[in-house]
Point group: C2
Chain length 309, copies 2
């Protein structure tokens, strides 16, 4: 039986303070982190259990912002030390961040511990962290009947290069993989993105979602391929968190629907594209924290028309 405090969706990832410079400006010590963007996007659709860690310096207003949404903060631990801090810069077409500084701080010794309710969530997202941490989360999940839980993992080139075995073990144990185009090429060892996507399926997950930034996203599954463009935005101010917001909209929409078959994943990508479009329209989580469900639905309708022949 599902305990009453079970969130629909558990996410394990980072909560950060970011210093970001883009052609549109600069923001310092603003709220960031994969679990933050994910949770704000996903909580537009379903109750999220956020598993992560912050330092004692984490501003109360940021905690209030998260707690004021449909986000369970029981598993957001506060540890002695400073909050994880990331500094990055985007230039020109803003296709990729240059990392200027990464201070792990409290993240260096973080070992996620899931509350009882969080272990039973029917939807789980493993944001980009060390495969060892992702495996630890997988081992804490309560047993579920086949098809009763959807687990999706993200990763990054650092782990592809330095912890490939652990990552391949993660891939054997999750339902979906969410990566960007460069990560897909690198992990699969194929320059052609279509070949790369198909190859990644052979590593275990039943679907692979490849994010291509302004060029949209591809879904690869055994029975289906699907392509969705990005929502057509005239102004991008800060691309930070685009991928995690995409993941949040996707998983949130799936959790709200209670479904997870390939066509459901394809439809949920529409919401991922929309939440990502809000995320990148301002610095930090400003737009994501403000946007309403009905604004999301309006943009989803617009994107649906944008792709309908």
């Amino acid at each position: 039986m599902t305990p009453p405090t079970t969130p629909a969706l558990t996410v394990v990832g980072t909560v950060a303070l970011d210093d970001v410079t883009t052609p549109a400006g600069t923001a310092e010590a603003v709220l960031g982190g994969s679990a933050t963007y994910f949770s704000l996007a996903a909580s537009l659709f379903a109750r999220v259990g956020l598993v992560g860690v912050v330092g004692r310096d984490f501003p109360g207003r940021f905690r209030d912002l998260l707690g004021g949404r449909d986000i369970d903060l029981t598993c957001l631990e506060t540890a002695p030390g400073a909050t994880f801090r990331w500094a990055g810069r985007y230039d020109g077409a803003m296709n990729a961040a240059t990392t200027l500084r990464t201070d792990l701080n409290v993240l260096a010794t973080f070992s996620p511990s899931l509350a009882h309710g969080h272990r039973h969530a029917p939807y789980v997202f493993l944001a980009n962290t060390a495969p060892a941490i992702q495996l630890s989360v997988l081992s804490q999940l309560a047993p579920a009947a086949p098809g009763a839980r959807l687990v999706v993992a993200d990763t990054m080139n650092l782990w592809i290069d330095t912890a490939r075995d652990g990552l391949l073990e993660v891939l054997r144990r999750v339902d979906g993989l969410l990566v960007n185009d460069e990560e897909a090429r690198s992990l699969a060892g194929h320059r052609n993105l279509i070949s790369a996507g198909r190859r990644l399926l052979s590593y275990g997950p039943r679907f692979v979602l490849v994010k291509k930034g302004e060029h949209g996203a591809f879904l690869f599954a055994r029975d289906r391929q699907f392509a969705l463009p990005a929502y057509p935005l005239e102004e991008v101010r800060d691309p930070t968190g685009a991928g995690d917001s995409f993941a949040g909209g996707l998983m949130g929409a799936l959790a709200a629907s209670g479904r997870s078959a390939t066509p459901d994943v394809a439809r949920a990508m529409l919401y991922g594209a929309v939440t990502a479009s809000f995320a990148v329209s301002t610095f930090s989580v400003d737009a994501l924290a403000r946007v309403t469900r009905s604004e999301v639905e309006a943009r989803a309708d617009e994107l649906r028309r944008f792709v309908t022949l």
Copy 2:
């Protein structure tokens, strides 16, 4: 009244001998040129009148190849001198060609002259040439009632940089513009592609089609925006002619349908994407010259499924 020898579709552009090197190999003195790729793609759907020039060295087997398809070669002039020759190389991701040599040869003094039938064609494509040549073609077209003819123009950065006034005059006189993403940004003076597309509409055409290579194409019209991904190919051997084959499939499908409203253009993009996918799968026009209408329809069905939510 339409003369009996009127092709459905007139194209004015280049017929070339190409020397191409890609990561997949090298081809020398192979059949190329914008009007060539366009005509082979378009003739899968409708009768094409090709307006262009070749030199006395133009191999008979290439003329036979074109003449063996539904292509009217009345206006393919043979001039004293050598055929236009282009040499280029594609590296790595094959996103852009490096031009190694351009010998205009007979093209240097080419002044297109349209036969009576070609002037009456209800669909006209002005492939990338000097705006002065495009304007000369426009002035030769027989008068047509509003909406009775669809004229679409291509261009390139050379003319955007060196013949902007002539190009803007062309844009005031055509229905559609077909450019790649870099050309769209450069011509509009906007880095954001969505803003660029909208700005280009203000220059005159009622639709602007922006080709993004492996990332597909955007359609901008006053009442509609539409995005289509590229056909998902696992192997690209030679990107030469992708854009012209896209244009050929698009215009050919429109000519076959007899329609040209925005939703018709959106649907015809599917055929553009498919003919382009065949073009890039081999060197030169090998695949385009071989492919059948039913193979095109099968791939169009596949692409339709690829984008259907």
